[in-house]
């Protein structure tokens, strides 16, 4: 009886969605979310759907954090982050990627790279500005741009060009309203990278059309054929680039939410205002851990990169062996094979792969334009699991033919 009354009360609650801001209400839930609901609770699944390292944060990093907690290091830090950490980040960026930022005025330690992207877009967007986004890409750029009143404009990249951004594709989408270009290389989900030579014509267009670039370089450490080239290191691009990165992927620290953003002091100053009024500072204990990772974590990082590289070779050759076209991913930890020759659209393929073969992968359509006909397979999973997943996928694909 009581239950019924509760149900009645529940049913009589009025809908609150009319109070929501339309720009938030109208955001579509991500394709990943939909798929997450399908997968959860499903046993015996091997998942290639995970967008984070399979390593636990190295023990010396965790231990440094625990030690700092024991000593009572639990207060706020300065808004932009601990000065020692910012100095360490500046040294690291200079040594590894030849970009030089002043730790005092050109850098903020953020709550993951995600906050950095939000800060950058909020600081720059005037409603109506067009935000250029090469796709398929990480799922959050377009929604964040929309929340800020921007108009996301997708630029389709293709397997034919190894999912690199080409000058032709970029220029075709530039209008007088274009203001920001969001780059994410090495790419989630395609594994594409951009070389120095690939960047030069893009930089020319950025200059010509007076664009600002938000360069999300969270996968910078995970490249397998040569070192990552930061867009900020391209001649003339430093002041036009907002460099976003963090500790999640390189140091296996996703749950810590430790990122940073570097840019011209005018831009950082504006972003710092938003940051200090919204989050105050990134978590102190995470900052201690991040500092430890930079000071003593490079060996572990190199070992993890070598391990991803080995598994990359395994998965790419395995996917090709079972008859799926797969361009060579040169960065991040994703393979992005084509499933076009199975005749199925991405979502149906992924759903049937899940129910019939018990393997979870994310349909390419979740990542925007150009994703149809592809699936994202994360190879940040054990070799044994990868082998089992490839065998199941092979049987599944053979059955489709």
């Amino acid at each position: 009886m009581i239950l019924n009354e509760q149900q009645l009360a529940e049913n009589n609650r009025k809908s609150m969605s009319s109070y929501l801001a339309p720009r938030v209400r109208d955001i579509q839930p991500s394709g990943i979310r939909k798929f997450f609901d399908l997968v959860s609770g499903n046993k015996d699944i091997i998942t290639l759907g995970v967008g984070e390292p399979d390593f636990v944060t190295p023990w010396h990093v965790r231990e440094a954090c625990v030690y700092s907690l024991e000593r009572g290091f639990t207060g706020y830090t300065s808004n932009a982050g601990m000065p020692e950490l910012r100095e360490a980040i500046a040294e690291y960026l200079s040594a590894s990627f030849q970009v030089n930022y002043d730790p005092a005025s050109e850098m903020i330690v953020t709550v993951g790279g995600s906050e950095a992207i939000d800060l950058a877009l909020r600081a720059l967007i005037v409603p109506g500005d067009e935000i250029l986004i090469p796709e398929p890409c990480y799922i959050s750029y377009s929604p964040i741009a929309s929340i800020g009143g921007g108009v996301p404009v997708g630029i389709e990249t293709t397997a034919e060009h190894q999912f690199k951004l080409t000058a032709e594709a970029l220029e075709a989408q530039i209008t007088p309203k274009s203001k920001i270009l969001i780059l994410c290389y090495p790419s989630n989900p395609t594994g594409a990278i951009m070389t120095y030579e690939d960047w030069l014509p893009i930089a020319e267009l950025v200059e010509k059309h007076d664009l600002i670039v938000i360069s999300d370089e969270i996968y910078a450490e995970l490249t397998y054929e040569g070192k990552h080239v930061s867009f900020a290191s391209i001649p003339g691009m430093m002041d036009r680039t907002i460099l976003v990165s963090g500790f999640s992927k390189a140091f296996a620290m996703t749950g810590w939410r430790m990122g940073y953003v570097c840019a011209h002091r005018d831009l950082i100053g504006a972003m710092l205002k938003i940051h200090q009024y919204t989050v105050m500072c990134a978590p102190a204990m995470g900052q201690v851990a991040a500092l430890e990772a930079l000071r003593h974590g490079m060996g572990e990082k190199d070992r993890m990169v070598e391990s991803y590289n080995q598994r990359r070779r395994l998965v790419v050759s395995g996917l090709r062996e079972i008859g799926l076209d797969c361009h060579e991913p040169q960065g991040a930890f994703y393979a992005f094979p084509s499933i076009k020759n199975t005749g199925l659209p991405s979502e149906e393929f992924a759903q049937r792969l899940l129910t019939e073969a018990k393997v979870a992968a994310v349909p390419g359509t979740a990542f925007g334009m150009g994703g149809e006909g592809f699936i994202r397979c994360s190879y940040a999973t054990s070799i044994a699991q990868l082998n089992e997943a490839l065998e199941r996928m092979g049987n599944f694909v053979a059955k489709l033919k």
């Binding site: 050759s317 994310v362 070799i383």
Partner: protein, 166 residues
Amino acid sequence: MEELSELKLKVLDLLKEDARRSPALLSTLLGVDEEEVKTSIAELERDHVIVKYATVVNWGKVEDEKVTALIEVQITPERGRGFEGIAERIYLFPQVKSVYLMSGAYDLLVEVEGASLRDVANFVSEKLSPIDSVLSTKTNFILKKYKQDGIIFEERQEDNRLLISP
């Protein structure tokens, strides 16, 4: 000691994690020809760099658990042969699992395995201590193994990530 090629070092790393990995799998993981991998392994075996492919057993899980002791042994080195001869005399006993020459307060660290405490004690009193050059022994029994050769024995949930994430 020769300097090993980068390929051989990587092969060793991968086999140390799992000795059952096939040359075909190693060649895929390392992006090199399978024949090259086979040659490397053959050379590593020939040169006794790869000594044996053994199984790491958690004997704590087995009912008739064995007793293991670490014995600190002080010895007088022999003229001309140093510690080698005496070390050999000790390590040839099958119940001796490992022998290390140590710096510090004693000379040899000897790992001995037996069916019972008495079994190990007997070995010490009847075989080890009576050796002429052995000056003293100190027996430490191992109560529990947490980690051996980089391998943690406790079972842990290895992957607690979300099944799907962006």
